[in-house]
Every structure is written in C-alpha cells, then in structure tokens.
C-alpha cells in the first residue's frame, strides 16, 4: 500500500526523524496562507502516487506567498501523469549542502531487511545500482538482534560525514529502522536525504510502502488507505478485491491463478495480440465472481475481444461455465469471447457453454490464436462503422 509523502512525513515526525516544516493544502488560498506562515521560500509538491513528480512538473519552488498562490493554481486540479492533483505539500525550502540516498527495504534472497545508503542522492537510484553499484552501501540487518553500533559507525565513516553529526546520524538510522518495523513497511525511502548548509540531516522526501498483508494489525493505517490507483478500472478492482492490472491492449483476459493468467497474456502476445489486462478470478469461480470480473474487464471500452482461460482443478469447470453464461447474458456482451476450459468436469462445462452458442476450446495456445483472429476482425468491423 502506497501512502502520500505528507502522510509519510507525519509518521517520520512521530518517530523523531527531522523533516522540513511543512503542511498539506487543498486550495491556492490555503497554499498562500501556509507560505505566509512559513515566511520564506517554499517548495510546492503535488501529492499524487506517481514516480518522477519533479520531472513531470509536480514540484515547484515559490519565493513568496503571491508566487506560491499562482504556482499552486497551476498544479492543483491538474493532471500529473494521468492523476488529478487534489493536495499539495507546502514545505520550507532548505539550503542543500549535499544530497544522499537512504532506504530500508526487504531483500528477498537473504530474507533480511537491508539498509541502503549512497552519496549519490536525489537521482534515480536504480540507475546508480546498475551503473555504479559500488556507490551504494548495503547493511543487512540481523532479524533477531537488529542494528549494531559498529554497523552504524561503519556506514557513517563510508559516507565521509563530519564527526559532529555522528550522534544525529545514529539516531536517524535507529528511528527509521524502528519506524520500518513497527509500521510493517516493505520500503522506507528518503531520496534525497539532505545535509543542510547548517550541517543538519533532513528527510527532504519521504516514501513509505506498507505491507498490504499486515493491515489487519494496523487499524491506524486504514484511514490512509485511499484507493490510489491511477486507473479507474484498477481502482474499481481494488474495491472489489480482484487482482487486476490494466495493460494497453484490446483483448480482455480472465483466468484462474496468477501464473496461468500471466502465461495467458504471454500466449496472446505471442500470437500477435495485445492483452488489455491481467485478471485473476481465483479459486471457486462462482457466478458472482465471474460476473464481477467480466464487468471489470468490459469497463475498458477499447476491448475487441475477451479470452477466458479456466483450468479446473479443485475449481469445477461446470461451475465456472455457469458463471460465465450468466455473466455474459446479463452484461449483454457483443464482442467476441473465446473460452478455454480444461480439467475437472470439463465435458459438463463445455456442454453448458456450447448450448448457449459460445466457442469453447481445450488448448490455451489455440484459444489465444482464435481470440487474436476474432478480435482483429471485430476491430476492422468497428473501423468501418
């Protein structure tokens, strides 16, 4: 789960991690008032869940309240990479001596949390990781004993910080790790971590990803959980709790099981088609869930066809078929649909569908070929209208 920078900074403050003074605003008037209160140059930052906000024009500096007002007018209510900006963070501009990168995240292969620190801050850290991996210091944290003093000292020395901020750096790191653990974060990232001209460490940016699986023990985060997907179908899918990812094609995909759906997308692409989405209907395949899934997929108006790929294991093909028939009928679908059914009670399922006049195949690749062909023809027909 993503949260906004201003929300992350609220959490930072709670853990005693220094952040520039700031507040969130929803209107240009509020922005002006905040700028007056801060009483120096401010940075206005769009609060939307997209990466690269700066490059996209979502972060701007204003030297006085009047400028802050007019600049925020250009940001608020406008779209940034497809998302409407409803809130901005108004933050005191800090004078930067040097920028660093600091993050804690989970490392899959060592099954430990890792601190990453680099003197190459404020830039795309993935690029640094590829180009000059030696510039990123990594510290794998012992799950039982946590951070040790010598480890902190070692990181400190590697960054060539001046001695008088040793204590500050130590507290910074310990607080961030504490926050990371207690919030069940999977990422706590500060880019840039700023050493100010005054010689203070400050989190100029703050990014926290919370583990979706841990929300049951974090009632306090429920309020932060705004459905933040930048796509309206993805947003609706989240509400319905159905794994869905929007892609750019015109063939809707529904299948059961994440691995099978991914493979279905790959096969459609292999046959020259373009998948419009990933959707995992999960186990069971009840009529209701099938209907909900088809509704989601067909919210996409670019669709020229739908491929439904069901492997009946514990899921019974006849149950799945019933759901498909009901859903297609009640949605009055007119675009081509190819259904592939295989496994438990396959013959019963196929009969149900064929009686209703639907194409049913046994082979995934053949199904993929068929839908690509039908969708292509349908698209042509559409073009003539």
């Amino acid at each position: 789960m993503k949260i906004h920078e201003y929300q992350a900074k609220e959490i930072f403050k709670r853990y005693g991690i220094p952040v520039p003074s700031s507040d969130v605003a929803r209107t240009p008037e509020e922005v002006r008032n905040l700028a007056e209160k801060i009483n120096k140059s401010v940075v206005i930052k769009a609060q939307v869940h997209v990466g690269g906000r700066g490059k996209a024009g979502g972060i701007k500096v204003a030297s006085n309240p009047k400028d802050a007002f007019s600049i925020s007018k250009e940001i608020l209510g406008k779209r940034l990479k497809g998302l409407v900006v409803e809130k901005v963070l108004v933050e005191e501009a800090i004078s930067i001596e040097k920028e660093y990168y600091l993050a804690i995240t989970m490392d899959r292969s060592t099954r430990k949390n890792v601190i990453m620190l680099s003197s190459e801050g404020g830039v795309d850290i993935e690029e640094v990781a590829v180009r000059t991996p030696e510039k990123i210091e990594k510290l794998y944290i012992d799950p039982a004993f946590g951070l040790q003093e010598f480890e902190i000292k070692r990181l400190f020395m590697k960054m060539n910080f001046s001695k008088n901020i040793a204590g500050e750096f130590r507290n910074f790191l310990i607080s961030l790790y504490k926050l990371y653990l207690e919030c069940d974060a999977t990422l706590a990232e500060i880019n840039p971590l700023v050493l100010t001209v005054e010689g203070k460490l400050m989190a100029a940016d703050a990014k926290i990803l919370l583990d979706d699986n841990s929300i049951f023990r974090h009632k306090e985060f429920e309020a932060l959980q705004e459905i933040a997907e930048d796509d309206e179908i993805e947003r609706e899918a989240r509400v319905r709790n159905i794994p869905y990812v929007r892609l750019n094609g015109d063939i809707g995909i529904i299948g059961n099981g994440a691995g099978l759906v991914m493979t279905t997308l790959d096969m459609v692409k292999r046959e020259g088609g373009k998948p419009a989405n990933f959707l995992d209907i999960g186990g069971g395949g009840s009529a209701g869930k099938t209907r909900q899934s088809l509704e989601l997929v067909t919210m996409d108006k670019n669709l020229n066809g739908i491929f439904i790929n069901i492997f009946g294991g514990i899921t019974r093909c006849d149950e799945a078929a019933k759901g498909i028939v009901e859903a297609i009928k009640s949605l009055k679908l007119t675009i081509p649909v190819v259904i592939r059914l295989i496994g438990t009670r396959e013959n019963e399922g196929r009969k149900l569908l064929e009686d209703e006049g639907y194409e049913v195949g046994r082979d995934m690749n053949e199904g993929a070929r068929k839908i690509v062909e039908l969708a292509g023809a349908y698209a042509k027909g559409r073009g003539r209208e």
Partner: protein, 288 residues
C-alpha cells in the same frame, strides 16, 4: 524413490477444523495420504473425519509420530503455527496460507535456520509424490507416477503443466509448489538439490515467473550440476512496478524481468520453453 515425502509420511493438519482444513483433509485422505492428527487450539480431544485433534503440535507429535505438517491457519496466525511445528520437531512443514505479512516471514525464516527442518511455501499448493502421498491442495487425479520432477512458484499453472505431461505419458516423481510470496522456505535451488540426489527423477521442469532472482540463482547452480532440466518463465508481457497477482510477482525497476531469467537459463545451457506444449516437447527430446 521420491523427494521429501512418500507413502510412509505421517501428516499433521494445522487448522484442521477450518473450512479449507476440513475440505482438503478429506481430499488428501481420499488420495491416500496418511493424515494421523490435526491441531486447532481449544479443540483438542475432538475427532474430524476420523482424525484425532490436538491443542498443540507437540502433543500430536508425541502421540502420533508425526513427521510432516500442512498449515491452513489464517494469515494473522500462520507464522506462529509454522514456528510451533518447527519447535515440535516436525521435519517438513508445508504452509498453504496466503497473505502472511513479510515481517512475520523474516522472523520465521530466521527461526527456521536454527532447525534441521524444511519449510515449503507459504502461499503454495503444496507437494505431491504421485500415487503415494499428497500434502497440498492440488487436484490429485491429474498426476501420474513417473520420472519428471516439477518445481513451480504458482498453482494453476503447475496443474496445467502437469496435466500436459500426464497426457503425453510423462509421469512425475515429485511436484513441489514453492510458493508465490517474496519470502519462502524452499527456493528453486533448494528443490533442485533434492532432485539431484533422487534416483527416480531423471529430469526437472522448473516453472518460474517474474520477480526476485530465485530463477537466476537456480540457473547459476544448475550450470555445474549433472541434472537435465527445462525451464519456463511466466510474465514476459508483465509491465514493471505492477504486482501480477502473487505478492512476489513484481518487476522492480529492471530487476526480476522474464528476459533476465530466460537469459540466465540460456547462459547455463538450459532449454527455455516458450509455451506449455513446448515444455513437454523439450522434455521428450531430452529423455529420448
């Protein structure tokens, strides 16, 4: 022979009184798995489907000589259940549960390091040695005995592959679903090591997907090992930054792409199948 489980494996079901627990206990019993005990705290003394229920794993081990456990306990309590099984001395723990927090799994994995036990999963379909023992939720009827070992990160896709193998007359020695989470107990490499020492397994099908670097590690391992293998990677069309269903199936930046995984296997001279029928074809070619 087979790996990890056979007809003599004595299985405990943790979370046996839940809906999933009851359903799959019955399915496993039908398959012929020796389910000898169940655990649900507070329900000790009851009997379900003829299986005695205990309050704690340690009691089940003491009275029923348990040597493997399967976990259906809900996510908030699943990590605790895994550690309970480990501390009771159970050598093989299979965690089916989906949605366990990452922080809990880091703890479990550290706990696991101190025991001479194996964890499979979580968020996996389990393990099966066809004709002998099924500790999982897979449809038993699609599996047949044979020489192909199968390792996979997903559920349904594994069934798809196994079904195709079975229809082509290629039976399986053992199939392991290692799980779709970012932190799992048994990696591809761990499973390959087990298959390497198994006299019955003559070839392995590895079904990987995007996210992490477990496939790359496996490719690196297999280079120096005499074990025929065919790989398949799902998610060639997956965009970066989007979770494709499984918690672990996500490309972060340029890490975890299908392309990198395919390249790693090709570099290790392991054939990579483009489709499911391709997996069958390649295995047939190598075996003949």
């Amino acid at each position: 022979m087979s790996i990890l489980i056979d007809k003599n494996t004595r299985v405990l079901v943790q979370g046996i009184t839940g809906k999933e627990g009851i359903f799959h206990t019955e399915e496993m019993l039908k398959y012929g798995t020796k389910i000898v005990a169940g655990v649900t705290p507070g329900k000790g003394g009851q009997t379900i489907l003829g299986v005695p229920v205990y309050d704690f794993a340690v009691d089940a081990v003491k009275e029923q000589d348990v040597n493997a456990s399967i976990i259906f306990v809900p996510a908030p309590f699943a990590a605790d259940a895994i550690m309970e099984a480990l501390s009771a001395g159970i050598k093989l723990v299979v965690a089916i549960t989906d949605g366990i927090p990452v922080r809990d799994m880091i703890k479990v994995s550290y706990f696991l390091d101190r025991y001479d036990s194996r964890l499979i999963g979580p968020n996996c379909p389990g393990i099966i040695t066809p004709g002998e023992c099924k500790i999982g939720i897979m449809p038993g009827h699609i599996f047949t005995t044979g020489k192909v070992g199968v390792i996979s990160r997903s559920g349904t896709l594994t069934y798809e592959v196994v079904n195709a193998l079975t229809l082509a007359g290629l039976g399986q020695s053992t199939c392991i679903g290692i799980g779709g989470d970012p932190i799992i107990g048994t990696s591809f490499t761990d499973a390959l090591k087990l298959f390497k020492d198994d006299t019955l397994t003559s070839i392995v099908a590895l079904i990987g997907e995007i996210g992490g670097s477990d496939e790359e590690d496996a490719a690196n391992y297999i280079k120096s090992v005499d074990l025929p293998m065919v790989a398949f990677i799902a998610g060639r069309t997956a965009p970066p930054g989007k979770r494709m269903g499984h918690a672990g199936a996500i490309i972060s930046g340029n890490l975890g792409t299908a392309e990198a995984k395919i390249k790693a296997f090709q570099k290790a001279h392991i054939p990579v199948a483009d489709t499911v029928p391709d997996i069958v074809r390649l295995i047939k070619e190598i075996m003949s």
